[in-house]
Amino acid sequence: MRRFAVLVAIVVVAPLVVHYPALETQILTFGLLAVAFNVLLGEMGFLSFGQATFNGVGAYAAALALIDAHAPLPLALIVALAAGAAAAAIVGSLAIAGRGVYGVMLTFAFNEMAYYIAFQWRDVTGGDNGLRGIPRPDVLGISLDDPTRYYYFTALVVLLAFAVVLRLNVSPFGAVLRAIRENEERARAIGYRVRRFKIAAFAISGALSGLAGGLYAELYRFVPLQAIDLDTSTSIVVAALLGGTGSPYGALLGAAIFTVLSNSLSHVWSHWPLIFGLVFCAVVLFFRGGLWSLAERWSRRAAHA
C-alpha cells in the first residue's frame, strides 16, 4: 500500500518537476505494456514475444471507434481493452498448445502475422502511412487538448489498471497463476483447469495492452505501423526484464528507464542499441532480478542499518 502511495505521488508530481508531458505520458502507456507483459511472465511464467499484437489491436480499435463512430474517449478505451483481450485470448489459446519454447515461438510468429495484416489492410489501418486524424473528444465536459491534462487523464487510467494488477496478484487467481508457473503438472493434478487459467491470463494481459494501445493512439492522435511490430514487442520484453519481473513495480521502472534512455541516448550516439544489447545480455547473465531486485536489496539493507 505504501509503495502504491509513493507511486501515485511520483506520477502526480513528475510533470511539475520535469515538464515533458508527452514523454511522461509515453512512459505511462509503455509502462502499462510492460506490466501487462509481466502478468504473463512474472506471474504465470510464460514469455510472450507478441505483446505488440495486443497493443496494436487496441490502438487501431480505439482509433477507429474515435474516427468512424465518434465514440467518447472512455468508450473508445473500453473498445480497445475488449479488442486487446479478444486478440490475446485467440493468440493465447493457440500459443499454449505448444509447450515451453514452442509457445514463445508461436506468440512471435503470430505477432508477425498481425503485422502483415495491419501492413496490407490499408483501408482500415492506413498501412505504413499509419492511421491519422484521431479526434480528442472532451471527457465529462473537460477538454484534454492540453498535453498536461492528457497526461493526468492517462495517469488516472494507468494507475487504476495498475491497482487492478496489484489486486489480482494477491487474489486466489494470482495464486493459481503462480502455481502454474512453479509446477504446471501439480496445478493440474490439484484440479485446476490450467488451460482456462492460461487463456484468462492472456486475456487480462491483452486487455491491459489494448488499453495502453488506446491511450497511445490518443496521445499522438496517430497510430503508426510500429505500434504492432516485433521491435515493439522486443522493447517490451527488454524493458520489463531490465526493471525486473519479480514485481509489477519493476516492470514499470524498467519501462520508465527504457523510454527515457531511448529518447535521450538516440540523440547522443545513434548506435546506442549496441550498448543496450550488451547491458541486457549482462543483466540476463549476472543479475536476473533486474533493477527492482537491486533496489529491494538496498532498501532491506537500509532498513537493517
Binding site: G45, M105, L106, M113
Partner: protein, 286 residues
C-alpha cells in the same frame, strides 16, 4: 503467361531451400540440443555481411561460401560455451532473452560496421546467365543455390545418422550421463553441434546475398518465417524442417501469383492450421 508460373514455382523452391537450410540449423539447436536460439536470424544476417566483405575484398564468391560458415560457426561456439551453457540451469526463458540481447547487438553492429543501407554483390561470373524457359529464363545461380543447399542439408543428415560422431551425439541427447560415463565430453560435442547449426544459418545468408542483398533487419524477417517452418514441419524433426521449408517457400510463391497481399499472412495461417489439426507438426513426434 508461358514460363512465368513455372519461374514463380522454381523461385518458391529456391527460397524454400534457403528456409530449409535455416530451419535445419534451427532444428539441430532447438529440437536436438533443446536450446532456444532466437538469434538464429542474426547469424544468418552476419553470414550475408561477412560474405559481402569477403567478396568486396577478394572478388571471390567461392571463397566467401567457404569462409562464412566457419566464421559464423566459431562465433556460435563462443556464444554456446560462454553463455548458453551457463544459462542452461536458469532455464529456457533466460536463454531466449540472452539470444534476444544478441539480436540487438548484432543488428546494431551491422549498422555500425557496414552501414544502414542495403548491400549487394554480383552473381559469380561462372553462374551468370540462365536456362531458357519459355519466353523467359531461369538464373543459373538460383539452381546452384538450391543444389548447394540440398547437398549441405544431406551431408549434415548423413553425419548425424550414419557416422560414429553422429551416433555419439544422438546417444548424448538420449542419455548425456551415460555417454559422459564412457569418457566422452558430451558438452563439447553439443557445442560443436551448436556451431554447425548457426553455421548453416550463416551459409544461408551468404548464399542469398547475390539474390537479395544484405540489409541489417534481414535476420528478423527470416526469424518469424523460420519459426513457422519449424512449427509446420514439426519441432525436432530434421526431415520436417526441410519439407516445411520447401512448403513455405512454395506457398509464398503460389500466393504471390494468386493474391500477393496475403503471401506472408498465408504462411502464418498455415501455421495456425497445423497447430489446430496436428500440434506436433507434420513430421513431429508426440
Amino acid at each position: 503467361m508461358s514460363g512465368l508460373i513455372e519461374i514463380q514455382l522454381l523461385n518458391g523452391i529456391v527460397q524454400g531451400m534457403i528456409y530449409a537450410l535455416v530451419a535445419a540449423g534451427l532444428t539441430l539447436i532447438f529440437g536436438m540440443l533443446d536450446i532456444p536460439n532466437f538469434a538464429h536470424g542474426a547469424f544468418y544476417a552476419l553470414g550475408a555481411y561477412v560474405a559481402y566483405t569477403v567478396v568486396s575484398a577478394t572478388g571471390n564468391f567461392w571463397l566467401a561460401i567457404a569462409i562464412v560458415p566457419l566464421v559464423v560457426a566459431v562465433l556460435g561456439l563462443v556464444v554456446d560455451a560462454f553463455a548458453m551453457r551457463r544459462l542452461a540451469r536458469a532455464g529456457h526463458v533466460y536463454q531466449i532473452l540472452f539470444t534476444l540481447g544478441l539480436v540487438l547487438i548484432v543488428q546494431e553492429a551491422i549498422v555500425l560496421v557496414w552501414g544502414a543501407n542495403p548491400t549487394s554483390v554480383n552473381v559469380p561470373a561462372a553462374l551468370d546467365g540462365g536456362f531458357p524457359l519459355g519466353a523467359v529464363s531461369f538464373p543459373h545461380y538460383r539452381i546452384f543455390l538450391a543444389i548447394a543447399a540440398a547437398l549441405v542439408i544431406g551431408a549434415v543428415w548423413f553425419a548425424l545418422e550414419r557416422t560414429r560422431y553422429g551416433a555419439i551425439i544422438r546417444a548424448g541427447i538420449d542419455d548425456p550421463e551415460m555417454v559422459d560415463c564412457i569418457g566422452i565430453d558430451v558438452q563439447r560435442l553439443f557445442t560443436v553441434v551448436f556451431g554447425i547449426g548457426v553455421g548453416l544459418a550463416g551459409l544461408a545468408g551468404a548464399l542469398i546475398l547475390p539474390i537479395r542483398g544484405g540489409q541489417p533487419a534481414m535476420g528478423n524477417e527470416l526469424m518469424a518465417t523460420s519459426f513457422a517452418v519449424v512449427v509446420i514441419g514439426g519441432l525436432g524433426s530434421y526431415l520436417g524442417a526441410v519439407v516445411g521449408g520447401i512448403f513455405v517457400g512454395l506457398t509464398q510463391a503460389i500466393m504471390t501469383i494468386l493474391y500477393p497481399a496475403a503471401s506472408e499472412v498465408a504462411i502464418f495461417a498455415a501455421m495456425a492450421l497445423v497447430i489446430l489439426i496436428r500440434p506436433q507438426g507434420l513430421f513431429g513426434k508426440r
